[in-house]
Symmetry: D2
Subunit: 136 residues, 4 copies
């Protein structure tokens, strides 16, 4: 039962902005990339086609300490910080070599589409929740 994943990544040109650094919106995509790799490590896809449930994000935050530049190689470490009946909370750290680049959090909730088309929070299916554990 995995509790964390370390994604190795390189900055792509289209992720930079005219300040010459990675645009801050990309960190939220980086953490999601790491999350989905964590789910694959657990033997799961977070969004299989025709799935009855989905996992929209309900909260996301990052503090940025130092910039990333084009072609930098960096690491995104995501950890399962908490699991409740309907939500999973992750913490994440982005580092380049020994430099801390950013730290953040991401919380997702399990939803099912109701007959009226609206998303409704539901309990995470056990066959999913049982695949993860909280990181020490």
């Amino acid at each position: 039962m995995p509790s964390r994943f370390s994604l190795q990544r390189r900055v792509q040109f289209y992720e930079t902005d005219s300040a010459g650094i990675v645009h801050f919106s990309w960190f939220f995509r980086y953490v999601e990339e790491a999350e989905h790799a964590l789910w694959r490590k657990a033997g799961l896809s977070i969004a299989p086609r025709e799935s009855a449930v989905g996992f929209p994000r309900v909260s996301a935050s990052f503090d940025f300490r130092s910039p990333l530049y084009f072609e930098d190689q960096f690491e995104v470490e995501i950890r399962v910080a908490a699991i409740t009946a309907k939500t999973i909370r992750y913490s994440a750290t982005v580092t380049r070599d020994q430099t801390e680049i950013a730290v953040g959090h991401l919380t997702i909730t399990c939803v099912r589409k109701g007959p009226d088309g609206r998303l409704k929070a539901v309990e995470i299916p056990l066959e999913i929740a049982d695949c993860f554990q909280v990181a020490e």
Copy 2:
């Protein structure tokens, strides 16, 4: 029956790259923004929820003449260049003041999802095809 649309737009910061100009991938999004505005002008949405048909892109190209910078105000003019039974071909021009920035083409085809989940090219429904005409 509209045949063209002029989209007025301003360059956003996240559209620039570390060369200090708009990343070329954005022009393909600009032309699609203009296309969808053209469809709304025709009283249509290109992707209503629960629609039986969709319009994936089968061909797209741009020639880039001059760069766009952060906060530049520019215009995207899209024109219906040809309509066949299953496809619509547009031409597009991006200009800032009197300067030609880029010219391009976009071709879309009408598809329906088959029982096996695969997309299959089909004729454009008349209630859609009849809403457009080729630009002079």
Copy 3:
């Protein structure tokens, strides 16, 4: 001296994901769009070419309450929540009609590039700080 700005916006197709809703990373771009419009309202550009100072983001967060869909029209209201010697903190609310979609914060800091190329936090120039006031 402006303290807030309301950006009127429509969801673009490329902002949606295969869950059928706007990808959460876009809200961080929406709030930045509103911020830059606030700066223009104050008579400023946040990133003029050849500027001696820049304003990287040091913190950003959003709580997501309800999804946005393709072609939805929505509003991003950004407010100046606090101004210190070196930072500006904004709060933001995204709404569609009467529905609260998301609430968030964004903090930026003023930096100058040192002779070694590293970014160093500096005081916000008075001709910029004096253009804003904290929202009531």
Copy 4:
């Protein structure tokens, strides 16, 4: 002297749109990722900091044959199709297993920033041009 590069890639969630497939604008980013990997294979960066020259894109096109879906693993093969004094033209093929997904072209030109800040086409420095050869 490399003439081609094969990039192995997986579809990220934020690259999909509400049609459930990769948004077409991403293919132009995929080909650029492959291009920059080709330059690294040649021992170069296409955009080193403080470089005197840059390589904006002057032409880009793709024909799309089949869709890509979330988490699909695919390959982008980029080949040097032609080298002139000031330009490099690439061809590219995107495939998933044995399925042809898309084929395209990309042309870049070498520029130098003039004293007036305008970009001017110049000859590709020999130490760069000599690092590549046309693919057979």
